[in-house]
Structure formats: C-alpha cells, structure tokens
Amino acid sequence: MFKININSIIFIFKNLKKTFFSNLFNTIITLLIILFISAACFNTFAWLMFKANWKVVLSNLPLYAFGSFPPNEQWRPATWIITLLILSIFTLCGPEWKWLRKNLLKAWVGTIPLGIYLLYGGFGLSPIMSRHWGGLTLTILLTVCSSLLSLPFGILLALCRQSSLPLIQKLSSIYIDVMRAIPLIAVLFFGQLLIPLFLPLGIEIDRVWRAVFAFTLFVSAYIAEDIRGGLQSIPNTQVEAANSLGLNQYQVIQFILIPQALRIALPALTNQSIGLFQNTSLMAILGLVELLGVGRSILANPEFIGQYIEVYVWLACVYWIVCTIMAVLARHLEQRMTINKANF
C-alpha cells in the first residue's frame, strides 16, 4: 500500500514537471500564473478576515432567516426549517428500515401543511399575516409550494399534449409554447399586478400565494416538456402489454406511463426545482421580503450602508448551501432508483 503511494506520488511529480515546466517559456508562464492566483487568494483571504465587517451579517441573522416575523414567535419557522434539515439528513444517511423508507415520502409531503400551519398560526398558535413572512423561510416556502403544485399540473399538461383529442392537444401546446416564450419576470408581474384586477370584488388573494400561482404557471410549462420527453421514450409495447392485461386507458397512464416518465425525467425535474429556488429571488423586485429582499432592506438601513460585498457574499453562500443540499438529495434519489434499474 505505502509503496504504491510513494510510486504514484513520484509519478504525479514527473507528470507535473513534464506538463508545466518542460521548457523555459512554459516555466515562466507557470510561475506567472501561480503568482497571480496566490495574490488573488491572499487578497481575498485578507479581505474576508480583516477588512470585511461581518457585523452586518452576524447581528442580523434572525432577519435573514425569518424576515420580520415577530421575535417571540420565531421558533415556529425555525422548527419548520430544522424539521426539513433533519428530514434531509435522515433521507441521506438514515437506516435502511423498510417502514422508514416507505414513509419518508409522506413525511416530505407532510412538511408543507406543517410549514403553512406554523407560519399562519391559528388552532392554538397566534395568527400571523403573510406580510410578516420573510427571509430564507419565505424563499423555501415559495420553492416548495410552487414545485409541488407545478408537478401535477405539468404532468396533466404533458398528458394533454399527447392526447388524441385535437382541441385539448392544441390548447395545451399553445399554453406551453406561450409560457416558454415569456420571461419569468413578466409572469410574476402578471401575478402581482393583474390578478387582483381580474378577481371579482371582495375576493383577495395573498401576495405570497399570487407569487406561488405565477411560479406554478411558469414552471409547469417547463415540467410538462420534461415529462413529455419521458413519455415519448417509453416504447409503445409497454402500452400494448398493459392493454393485453385488460388495464384501461387511465390505469395504463397511472401505473405504467407516469411512473416510468417521472423516472426518466427526474434529472431534468431536479434542474427545474433548483432553478426555481434561485428564481424566487426575483420576487425581491416585486416587494416580497424573501432572502434577497431581506439583504436589500438591510442595506437600506443607514447603519449598514455601503456594505454590499459582505451582504451579497453571505447571500451567495446561503443560496449555494441550500442548492447543494437539494442537488445531493436529488442525486441520492436518482441512485436509489437506479438500484431498481429500468431496462429500456
């Protein structure tokens, strides 16, 4: 073991010499680049440690997490986020008990009503208006609710687009094409500004739910296309086999087509939900105080004026961490599915 290690280290050094220091010109280039990179690293490190004033981050941590949620009620969103974290850890490295694995999906879906209950209150908790929601909590809520709603809607659109009824097929194609031809920010403006005008007098939908609605409209068009790709890659012999067993059209869709299409589309669906998570930051422009919105409002505080870099570096880190967790979870799900590998 040890011997092999020494040999391979020598091998690596020889290779390094050959690629980077083979002649005078290459040596100079290599040294210059090393100098440049180390200077950049040193400056960044010096800025992070000595120049940056992290007070703008440290003293506002509850704001980033919960927005303007009343301080003595902040345990509620905190509970929700911690539940999500624990569930992630359990999914990734929990024991392989069968009952646990079977109920994990239910637990994940169950976190959504739990989160909404904890945020809204009622039934024993003091009610809190949605304009007090904010920060990371709101960002996660927007992402989770929109992606969960757009999945069934997207599946429905994909099935309609495959339909043999020309009217339904045309309508869903037009919907998908229009949604894909409009920038997301326009759909979000539509959700915030136009929906209140269309609704009959007296009915009012919360700003947060209007945002969820707009995101769902937009994302479901993309999800529909991903699922359609999955549906089209299922050979027709699968449908014939199911038909020959007496399954009717709806049973074929439910038990044969959708499960297989979802498996095939899973990597694309992961992309959509990570993209959705990042796109929720657009709501900062439209006045929701989600993660980016909190950052902007903190920067508007005279006490912290001008400390853009600190705030945005910190926000980038938070987005990066959450996206990484999502990606790791999705990869885990994909791996579990390839254990039960499909044979196409």
Binding site: T237, E240, A242, S244, L245, L247, K341, A342, N343
Partner: protein, 252 residues
Amino acid sequence: MEPIVIAKNLTKSFTKGLRALDNVSLTVNQGKVLVVMGPSGSGKSTLIRTFNGLETFDKGELNVLGIKVDSTHDERKIQKIRRRVGMVFQQFNLFPHLSILENITLAPVQVQKRRQIEAEEYGMYLLSQMGVDSHAKKYPSQLSGGEQQRVAIARALALKPELLLFDEPTSALDPERIKEVLDAMRRLAEQGMTMIVVTHEIGFAKDVSDQVLFMDSGKVIETSPPNIFFSNAKNERSRKFLNQLDNHYSES
C-alpha cells in the same frame, strides 16, 4: 367440444392496398393448441393480435369466448375479451419499473379487484410453476431473457385466462434459453390450456400442437394436423417453406 375462437373471413388491408389478412377463417376448440407458421410478413402476428383487439380488421367476424367483435372494434367488448385472454410477446414487455411479483399482481388487483395478499399468493404459485420464484423481489433487467419470458407467461396466467396467445415467444432468446421457455409452454399444453402460438420451432409444433396453420401474404395456405403437415404437406408453398427451415436448422 366448445369452440374458443371462431374467425370468419377476417380481412385487413394497409393503405397501399397490401393485405395483412386476406379472408382468414379458423376455429380453435377448447384445450387445443394451434401453431401458426409462415414467412415473416405473412400476417401471422397481425392475425393473433386481432384476437385480443391489439389490431383492428376491416371485414369479417370474430368470436372469442362467445364475445362477438366486428370491424367497429367495440372498446367495451374488447376489454371483456382481454380480461379472459392472456398474451405473451416476443420482447417479453415486462414493466421495468415494477418488481417481478408486482408485474404479476398489477392486473389481478387493478382489473379483477382481487385482494393484494391473495394476488401475491397466487403470483408466487405461478412463479414457482415457471421456476422463477426465487427472483420475485428482483427487477426485470436483473433477469436473463429466458427468465423474463417465463415471468411474462406467469403474468399472462395471473388473470386465469381461458386462452393464451404467444407471439413468437422464443424468437428473441439465445438458443440455450429457448428450451426452458418451450418446456414451460409444453407443461401448460399438457394441463389443457387452449393456446395459439406463432413460432418457427418445428419440434414444439410437432410434439405439442393439434393443428398447424400455414400463412403466406395474409392468406391461409394450409391447415393440417402436424404429422401430415411436416411429413406430407399438401401445398407446394408450405413444402418450400419447410425445406428452407430444414436447411436453416441443419446448417446451425
């Protein structure tokens, strides 16, 4: 003897005037095994797929298990037939996202509304009949072709069908895997299952079948018992086809 399938003058043409089926008439009685032979493109697959409604036809009459179907292709009647007729395909067509046992219990539970436990018990019994019960928890891609085909037979049997259709069940298998599938089919025939089998396996046709039906370009050329068909075929076209098959097998 009760007839299970009665076909009268089935005709199906494709757009270019090509006839896939040309006035095909046949009767299969209960407990009998009919082998359908013929060169590729002769319409044998099309014929057997009309019996459970996977293919439509333009003219003629079809009576399967007392249910009459005509060229209007009534969906409700077709569904009734499919619940009582099993089919085995050339490419197995197992559902890749379901385990072997789930492949078998899906239709009994969803179509016949049987209880899950009951369906699983019967499914395990069928798998052990086919000699693949040790694979019940695996997924189709983990099995060899021969094993997959035997699972497919068990899946077709799960609805307790009164007629089994085989569409070239051994054509996609390695030579050494063919025997295990043919043996399973032989046992079914011995148990009195009514079967219609499209195949090129002469040995199977000689030993198991009660009638051999020879087709070419959509027409029935000859229907004879196997001992006559293979030793002394009436028709020139059948003899030529058998000669070619013989050459092929003596070469390999």
